[in-house]
Amino acid sequence: MARKSRSYNENVPFSLTSMMDMMTIILVFMIKNIDAEGQLVTQAENLILPVSTSRVQPKEVSLTVIVDNNYVLVDNGKVITTKEVLDQEELLIPMVDSVLKERRQTEKEHALRMGLPADEPGNIIVQIDKNIPYDAMYKVMATCGFSGYTNIAFAVSMKNAGEE
């Protein structure tokens, strides 16, 4: 006896309901995870920040100095190699100092134009690779202070950030 072949209805509509369910779950998950305040600091490339228990968030966008394995960067512009910083004896890094002083002057002029006090200490965020020696970090920090950026903060990776 010939086996009866199963007939298929050719007009079956494409059901999007299951896809909608999946999309809804993803959307709710993403909205839950989104940081409504945004990030005022973004991690630089080529470095790993140390993990810290700090929960302090920067209050405003500040100038960023980056110290990675290869370079010291001010506002994403390469200024000097990290090796040169480590090799020098002096505390002050002249090349970084001149760039920072220029930036500080611009900030002061901008503050004056806006009618804000120009003599307030400058804010700076320093992103340093966790394996960079203290010597380089100390020289960069001292140079920042010497250039007028005395409110210094280190960027760190928040420990257990997902548990909030």
Binding site: P13, S15, L16, T17, M19, M20, M23, T24, I26, L27, M30, I31, N33, I34, D35, G38, Q39, V41, T42, Q43, I48, L49, P50, V51, S52, T53, S54, R55, V56, Q57, P58, N69, L91, L92, I125, I128, D129, K130, N131, I132, P133, Y134, D135, M137, Y138, M141, A142, G145, F146, T150, N151, I152, A153, F154, A155, V156, S157, M158, N160, A161
Partner: protein, 295 residues
């Protein structure tokens, strides 16, 4: 004539295509805005003597009524100093955990062994036997741990102190437990350099009251928490944190009770500085200054 029963029409599915279009736009947008790693900042006070060093001026005389607390870290010990005196050294062995690119496995080496190997022209070895790049191995360190050592003298090689830790992940220590007298649940290890956990050190079971160094942390262990506890080398950071908490509590009335100077060697990694600053701030020393050892 029998009335014909009208067959109900099959329910129409709503047109979901516009909603799908909206979702398809929303999801990539949210995905681009999601922060997978949250960043924070650690504020620091400027190095106290940076300008003075440039001018070769001597440091000012310390105020005898102040605490003048400092925390120094060298390559093998940490020490707390105050009012011209020092507490006993907290000895440690620095351990580096690497994540190897060749096998994606974690491997822990003693820092001094790695340095000796590198001096001989060989990079640290992975579990699969592959050597890391001698030039770049430093930047592949995933975690730096300072295992507390018990030493009777400078010449004594010391023995590892083992403690009970709570754990979030698999064999990853979180907080060390203390007993009712605020002493760590810890014992010195056995065998060569105390690398074998002491059998006498038992993990507390469910229902046992424990606490950590954090305030108001005393609690009775739940069965699921008790199962996650691990025996792990006591961190020198925890030993220092315990002392710092005691000092801050004792000298809370002094003007500089919230100040601490972290002093370090030139080659101390930034990671260790941040860990010390974290412990200092958690102990109540919110104003952290940095200085160089011998600077």
């Amino acid at each position: 004539m029998a009335k014909e029963i009208k067959k109900p029409a099959p329910p129409e599915e709503p047109d979901l295509l516009p909603a799908m279009g909206l979702f398809t736009i929303l999801i990539p947008m949210l995905l681009s805005m999601t922060a997978f790693q949250k960043l924070a900042i650690v504020e620091v006070n400027l190095p106290e003597r940076s300008l003075m060093n440039m001018q070769d001026e001597p440091p000012p005389e310390p105020d005898q009524q102040s605490l003048n607390l400092s925390l120094a870290i060298t390559s093998d010990y940490m020490v707390i100093g105050a009012r011209g005196g020092f507490q006993p050294n907290v000895f440690f062995k620095e351990m580096w955990t690497f994540r190897c690119k060749s096998d994606a496995q974690l491997i822990t080496h003693a820092a001094e062994d790695v340095k000796a190997s590198v001096e001989a022209g060989k990079g640290p070895k992975c579990k699969d036997g592959v050597e890391m790049d001698v030039e770049k191995y430093m930047y592949e360190i995933e975690t730096i741990e300072l295992w507390a050592y018990e030493k009777t003298s400078e010449e004594d090689p010391g023995r590892v102190i083992w403690a009970i830790y709570s754990s979030q992940g698999e064999n990853v220590p979180d907080s060390a437990f203390v007993d009712g007298n605020n002493e760590f649940l810890a014992l010195t290890g056995e065998g060569n350099l105390g690398l074998t956990p002491p059998p006498a050190l038992k993990k507390p079971g469910a229902g046992v009251a424990v606490a950590t160094l954090a305030e108001n942390s005393a609690r009775k262990l739940k069965p699921e928490d008790a199962a996650r506890n691990i025996i792990y080398p006591l961190s020198a950071y925890d030993l220092i944190a315990k002392d710092l908490i005691a000092i801050h509590t004792q000298f809370i009335d002094l003007d500089d009770a919230d100040n601490i100077i972290v002093v370090a060697n030139d080659d101390t990694q930034f990671d260790k500085i941040i860990s010390l600053m974290d412990r200092a701030k958690a102990s109540g020393f919110i104003k952290v200054n940095l200085a160089k050892l011998g600077g």
